[in-house]
Amino acid sequence: MTPLLEIRDLRIRLGDRALVDGVDISVNPGEIVGLAGESGSGKTLTALTALGFTPPGSAASGEVLFEGRNTLTLPKSQLRALRGDRVAMIFQDPMTSLHPMLTIERQLTEHQLAHRSLTRRQAREHAIELLERVRIPDPHRAIRSYPHRFSGGMRQRIAIASALACEPDLVVADEVTTALDVTVQAGILRLLDELCRDTGMAMLFITHDLAVMNVLTERLYVMREGRVVETGATREVLAAPTHEYTRALIEALPQTDTETA
């Protein structure tokens, strides 16, 4: 199978500091791949290159092939055509990733209108469908509303709906449940899992929480200081880590078991 996203020997330097230091990652179509690591490990940076984002003033080398095109060298206009359409992003904090002064409708339709030849009405109808799909109650009313009317979990659902709007092949989800309460997180995780299965889209899921990683992702990359230290099928890796860093991370977690579930 040809990978949807293939990152080969990615190196990102900022001044004399190597932020990402030779990373290889691949994501197959329809696959949920996890990228784990602590702060400063370079995981977010690596994932963002899928959308062609690199920090200002940094130098990136290697290849980031999305559907065969290298997003590191792609012209800006082509990059824009990809973003939001073929590859979408969901951010950590739903409180800040939705524009507080724009209606939900605008935030769900503007990229549809930019990437698709749709009428405003069509885009709007699609947006309502999306809201239904992420289980926002009363979507017809919700769409005229503003983000501040919704709770954190609801906002994250809206952000997910926005990412789904153009039926992307890949979604990059960056710590999307970190800011949420566990009960809310559970709902979001189930929703993401279900959406990926239903639509066949792939997801690159970034988190520092290995338990979340365990329940959601199929394959896992563990990063540390700009390098991938361990990779494999998620449950295998977490059940029997080979790298000491992975082991240390697991040990740092509070001991939990499945008895009570």
Partner: protein, 337 residues
């Protein structure tokens, strides 16, 4: 919501009352007497006449009595008689207020366009040489002594280049357009008199440009800071991640988010333009509230000083109110309530 408006209104009224009291007391306890200046050389020597005039103007009463008489008038919309112009202060304010407002609004528009525009550019070119040059430019605007700048500007653009007329709101002897707003440019347009509009505009533009200098600087810096603040927000990254065109991102997302603090500063800056108008109006012979304030102060024309003070306090309150309304229009979070 209604309670909120009422409370605000109440607070505003208290503010006006407070301002009135302070202005009244200050001007009353200060030495000096407008009456003297008004009397001719010979008449001033006539003690009987002076006493009679003082009585007529109520200046012989105790100060608290004067104050209550004044307050009584104030309630009826009577601000007393200006000694220098020899007519009701309200009439003076009605005449000079719009002149200054027109000037200040024009300066604000210029500042919004120039300062706002350059502020956006500076923010988007953050930490480049362009940013530094623009920053120097904005600080220059804030730092320039207006009275001197006005002199230099008239010397270049009126006297030497003759691009702009040097003084007044209209050419001499040209009748003002029919009074609707008191803004000659707008009134001329309303009257359908294009040449008159052109003339009014020509007179307006140079003093407005000079007056806008500090505001341009201020707005530029605020727009820059505010845009920078917003550019760092995740929702801007989100907009980019949606593949929107840069123009859409800047104008649709960044500016929208950056507007509230900018509006705040426009509001406060507008209300405080008066200090600038005093100096600028002096030099451009602009018959506005600034020159009126200066004349009132130097002639110790009590009613006029208090009148100007109340007027300015009212402008301050109105501007605050307008900014609040604008906030609501821009930011749905504030609209709630």
């Amino acid at each position: 919501m209604l309670m909120f408006v009422l409370r605000r209104l109440g607070a505003s009224l208290l503010l006006v009352l407070g301002t009135t009291i302070v202005a009244f007391l200050l001007t009353s306890v200060l030495p000096g007497d407008a009456l003297t200046a008004r009397l001719g050389e010979r008449a001033a020597a006539n003690a009987e006449l002076v006493a009679k005039l003082r009585a007529e103007l109520g200046l012989d009463r105790p100060i608290w009595e004067q104050f209550f008489i004044y307050l009584g008038g104030l309630v009826r919309g009577d601000l007393g008689l200006s000694l220098q112009s020899n007519r009701p202060v309200t009439e003076d304010l009605a005449q000079f207020g719009p002149a200054s407002a027109e000037l200040a609004l024009m300066a604000t528009v210029i500042a919004l366009v120039v300062g706002g525009g350059l502020g956006i550019v500076a923010a988007l070119r953050n930490n480049t040489w362009i940013d530094n040059v623009l920053r120097a430019f904005s600080l220059g605007g804030v730092s320039v002594p207006l009275f001197w700048f006005a002199l230099v500007a008239t010397s270049i653009f009126s006297t030497t280049l003759r691009w702009f007329p040097s003084s007044g709101r209209l050419d001499a002897g040209v009748a003002a357009p029919p009074h609707v707003t008191g803004f000659f440019t707008i009134d001329a347009l309303l009257a359908g008199d294009l040449p008159l509009f052109g003339q009014a505009f020509e007179h307006l533009i140079l003093p407005a440009l000079v007056l806008s200098a500090p505001m341009v600087g201020l707005l530029m810096r605020f727009t820059r800071a505010s845009v920078l603040d917003v550019v760092g927000q995740e929702y801007v990254r989100a907009a980019e991640a949606k593949g929107l065109a840069p123009r859409t991102v800047v104008f649709g997302h960044v500016l929208r988010g950056a507007l509230v603090p900018v509006i705040t500063i426009v509001g406060t800056a507008f209300a405080s333009l008066l200090a600038g108008t005093v100096l600028v109006e002096q030099i451009f012979a602009w018959p506005g509230i600034g020159s009126y304030a200066y004349r009132s102060a130097t002639t110790l024309d009590l009613s006029a000083i208090v009148g100007v003070t109340i007027f300015v306090a009212l402008v301050y309150i109105v501007v605050n109110f307008v900014t609040d309304v604008l906030y609501g229009a821009i930011d749905p979070r504030i609209r709630r309530a």
